[in-house]
Symmetry: none
Subunit: 380 residues, 2 copies
DNA sequence: GCCGTAAATGAATCCGTGA
DNA sequence: CTCACGGATTCATTTACGG
């Protein structure tokens, strides 16, 4: 930054409050009344970590369709025109997605769930707005409703789109937690989960409280995968509050928008009963990269792999001498554990921690094992 | 229809040739050279029963990608997949979909396959053009490429859209054949199939002939579900001709468009080798049967025991022909592997999996062995 | 030829941080 | 903004090869 402050720079500084200031303005743990586009307008820019949205699917639910200017769309008649209806739905979609984009932090994430009736429109529009699709996820229902007439395939899935603010955005993904959740295999883009039923299904006077209540397992996976403890999750179509309930359980903050008084009441009661998981239950498997960084030099320094000892690759094609500063020497070729491994193999890159091995008590181990020991020893 | 003929009515009649006349104009069993939009322009209106399209996905790849072992991923960087912008891709999509709509019969069907990179744009545009989505189908890959950097979910599926010409169109769906193929359960919108590899994958000079060859089992299910014997199937992005090969095998007529001379050559060679299944194998279940559940259809579909092959009991008292939907035909007597075995023996029940045998490399095995192979191949 | 191990490969929008 | 560099990261399946 230069010494001279232009008006522009001052202005930018003036309107950009700190993250803590912005957070203090947020109505955490509250369900905002009214149309979600209006409600989101009351939230500050760049303040939300994750938006999860379950917008209306059905083009014939005209009551859900409002133009950005607030006027109602008259789409539902027996001879409603399909193209007018799509246009109205697109306008509505563009409006709420634009607001979601504004309130999302630059590294925040958007999730939308839909079916073939609406998801292609939603997906195209969010791409047009600049969102960058990271994955689409298929929720494969174990117990879908059959196609009673036998005229089509059983519609046994719904689609979720996961998107960042843009191609370069540094979105959040708890890779390790997902892999652990999936029995030590990478979590795939198809999720097999039952529909919401039984005790989980909210009822009022014996009737289901909401026609499209989502299973908590679905939100659980979404929030565990792409948010951190303490993150703020916004659900513009809150309904009976599945997003809020799971967010609270997982130690995330939440904000909802819902214009139906009945649903707000059901959701508030529901979330009040929810208890957050305790700290230890919330702890997930951490990626190595988020563990404290350890230089190979430290491992040498502490004598776990002393200077002067030999390291070698698994097949013993190369052997190198450890030098006092943590660099390696292989017949005159010198470099870091990573750089030298890369050079010797002629590879595009090399993780020296797993490439090089050392002998300890007659046992051959990757030098990564020594790093683990170092981390254990320096943990307080 | 009124009695008075307006000019308009006469004109319409004059340019509307009979179905047989139109069909006579079609280049059946030929691959049209050049751009698919141009090529489709040479086809008459309302002449095609089914369009299957595997358009470019418009992948927007960054630099090189290396596996953890250092090897390089062979990416799809072909010129035909490059577009300058979403706008350019949309224009292209609108153009070919409009031509497809024109050549399709009023009750014809459209299938398009894609990934999250392009499918939302394709889906929205085809809705804008008036197509009516009947289902979206998820092809869940048993063996997708992993996400090597651990940055996202493993992209383990692709999406197919099945659409009719409009809401009121009387499209074709072989419900019973699908149900038979799926263990006497309604066929769902998620299909579990392996990617195309091994002997099915076409190679030239030891290298894969086409970067995105689709598995035949996928086309098999598409064509069996939504076309009849003798129907005309058009594939505007013919590539190495999977659609043509499966169409020929299933007794459907086909037309392809392909602008790459190399792909056309590979496809022609491939389809020439293909043999149509015989009449009995092609006859699918028409009548509802009260047979026990059978998963035999999957074994047939994947080619472990291909339609048209013979199965027999251990003592070779009876021999039956396997039909496309997984039912058996023994001299006109037809049924599931269990039901027919029971009938022939006059037994109170029969486990078809152990009763029927097939020959594989000179070895006789119970068909249960093929089911084991299928399970291995499809995980679950 | 058979068996066990190693190498190859598939529509992929595939790193993060600090200077 | 770029550049440098530390270092994190893979599943199912087929084919090739060595003994």
């Amino acid at each position: 930054m230069g010494v001279i402050e232009t008006k522009k720079v001052r202005a930018r500084r003036a309107v950009k409050p700190s993250a803590a200031d912005v957070r203090a303005l947020l109505p955490l743990g509250r369900i905002l009344d009214g149309d979600c586009i209006e409600a989101m307008r009351s939230l500050p820019d760049n303040s939300i970590d994750c938006v999860f949205a379950d917008p209306p699917y059905n083009l014939q639910l005209g009551g859900d369709l409002n133009r950005p200017d607030g006027s109602e769309v008259d789409a539902v008649t027996d001879h409603w025109d399909q193209f007018d209806s799509f246009r109205a739905y697109d306008e509505f979609t563009r409006a709420w997605l634009a607001e979601a984009r504004r309130v999302l932090k630059p590294d925040g994430a958007l999730w939308v769930i839909g079916s073939y009736h609406n998801i292609y429109r939603v997906g195209a529009i969010l791409q047009d707005l600049g969102f960058w699709i990271l994955n689409d996820i298929v929720w494969r229902k174990t117990n879908p409703m059959p196609n009673f007439k036998g005229t089509r395939f059983t519609n046994a899935h719904e689609t979720l789109i996961w998107a960042s603010q843009g191609e370069k955005a540094r979105y959040h993904f708890n890779y390790r937690a997902m892999k652990t959740l999936n029995d030590e295999l990478q979590m795939r883009s198809d999720w097999v989960l039952p529909i919401c039923s039984g005790g989980e299904r909210l009822k009022e006077n014996g009737k289901k409280a909401h026609p499209t209540q989502k299973p908590e397992a679905l939100l659980y996976r979404v929030l565990l995968a792409t948010t951190e403890k303490g993150d703020v999750v916004l659900d513009p179509f809150f309904g009976t509050g599945t997003t809020g309930a799971v967010a609270k359980r997982l130690g995330r903050e939440w904000i909802g928008c819902e214009r139906e008084t009945f649903y707000r009441g059901v959701a508030e009661k529901r979330i009040a009963k929810e208890l957050p998981l305790d700290e230890s239950a919330l702890t997930t498997m951490q990626a190595k990269k988020s563990a404290p960084r350890v230089a190979f030099g430290s491992v040498v320094e502490t004598g776990l792999i002393p200077a002067g000892s030999k390291v070698f690759d698994k097949k013993r094609r190369w052997t190198a001498t450890v030098r006092a500063d943590g660099s390696l020497d292989c017949g005159g070729q010198v470099g870091s554990i990573h750089g030298l491994g890369k050079e010797l193999q002629g590879a595009p890159s090399c993780n020296g921690w797993t490439f090089w091995h050392y002998e300890n008590g007659g046992e051959v181990k990757p030098v990564d094992a020594a790093r683990d020991l170092y981390r254990l020893a320096s943990e307080d």
